[in-house]
Subunit: 233 residues, 2 copies
DNA sequence: TAACGATTGATTGTATGCAACTTGTTGTTT
DNA sequence: AAACAACAAGTTGCATACAATCAATCGTTA
């Protein structure tokens, strides 16, 4: 252990952010702060009822998860992603996530497994009801978080979360059809099975499948929705 | 392009940090702020001749590159890495860096190539003189930065830099023998050749070789120096 | 003497005010 | 009319002051 006492720093999987950061993220994911738009520190401070100081600190934290970008002496704006960037993000995830998840093999506890099963069931019920479907994203995150935080590849953990760009994932889940949902659920069940079998290669393969199928779901979404508009959103 | 004008956010490869951040990094790399130690905002503010506000903002930026960790309501301390973590970091780099660098194939300009050659020569001269050898780290960073910032895998760029933990890399280079230096130089020349040949697989292979040889150099260093002490430093 | 609790000092979190810079506009010049 | 320069409004960067919280010490009690 690198630390000389048990105080651990905040991790993203714990959704253990500061109050202000998570509220800003909420505004971005909800589309209230649209991609590409500049965020005036004063405006946000007024809206959130705090001063500019915590706002500025939150911006620095949110840079790390790709939600905003800070341009010195110009300001901060919501990061926007075009279709090509999103494809690259998925391809990058397809490189590292299989590795990260496979490195959790043999390190998941029985508690972890029961949580995984529970979350899997929960997602199935959420997925069958279109009105609650947008909640899947957070449950899905929790599912993956269990694998990721148990990984031996600790140094890639925050990286892995960084690539699960909140706004991208949220939009994607919202567009899932029944078929997409059940396919995604199957991947999750198979991930559990592969982890129980302690087969790194199997875990890596399922993980890769999961991501690439997500990428293709995204591409389909692009075509369906806005053949002209490339940007998200 | 995702941005509606040409103002680009700071990137790490540009060593385009804020004044305060880079000075703090300097204190950490030099060992002046030892790993594991808490950093009092007031102390640093006094030492750097600024107020606590920019210090706190710099801390948030440095979390992203693994230099410090912020524990809410407790403070900020220098991140420390034990041998096992460092090995995991190298193994992670061995997964993603070959991909990132190979994705720069076909995107390097003639200017890039001449910079690469120049930097390679510069490193050779620095490497042959033990008194200037500690400067290699920054030149080496610049070399890799050219590949990395040209990569199509934009979203992994900051990630890649994050794994080149400054303090780890600095210590490693300082310990290089003449043989290690020339071996490293060979890798660089071969990277240039592979990129010129526009052979992704070749670039990826050389990159992987480079990283794993670095890992083993690190392991050797551990044994040589402090058979008892595991932590860096 | 050991364990528990209150108090004090130190440290972080936040608000506010001012200085520096950036940008858009207006007025001048060619 | 177009280009350029000076000005003004707005915005960020930083310093300082105060409030909230944490940790350690000291005193009390079983």
């Amino acid at each position: 252990m690198p630390l000389d006492d048990d105080a651990m720093p905040p991790q993203f999987g714990d959704s253990h952010w500061t109050e202000v950061s998570s509220r800003i993220l909420g505004l971005v994911v909800s589309g209230d702060l649209p991609p590409g738009s500049w965020i005036r520190e004063n405006d946000l401070a007024g809206r959130l009822g705090v001063s500019r100081t915590p706002i500025r600190e939150a911006f620095r934290e949110l840079v790390g998860v790709g939600v905003v970008e800070v341009v010195p002496r110009r300001g901060t704006r919501v990061r926007s992603y075009d279709a090509e960037e999103i494809e690259q993000i998925y391809r990058s995830r397809a490189v590292i996530e299989p590795y990260v998840m496979s490195e959790s093999v043999g390190r998941l506890t029985e508690d972890d497994f029961s949580s995984l099963s529970e979350l899997s069931e929960q997602m199935k019920s959420l997925g069958s009801d279109p009105t609650t479907r947008h909640h899947i994203a957070s449950v899905n995150n929790e599912f993956h978080a269990i694998f990721i935080r148990s990984s031996a590849a600790q140094s890639l953990i925050s990286t892995t979360y960084n690539l699960m760009i909140p706004i991208v994932v949220a939009k994607l889940f919202a567009s899932y059809s029944d078929n997409d949902v059940s396919s995604s659920m199957n991947h999750h069940d198979e991930l559990i099975a592969a982890a129980r079998a302690e087969d790194k290669e199997w875990v890596a393969a399922v993980s890769k499948t999961h991501i690439i199928s997500g990428l293709n779901r995204f591409k389909a979404m692009q075509i369906e929705q806005t053949p002209g508009h490339d940007d998200l959103q």
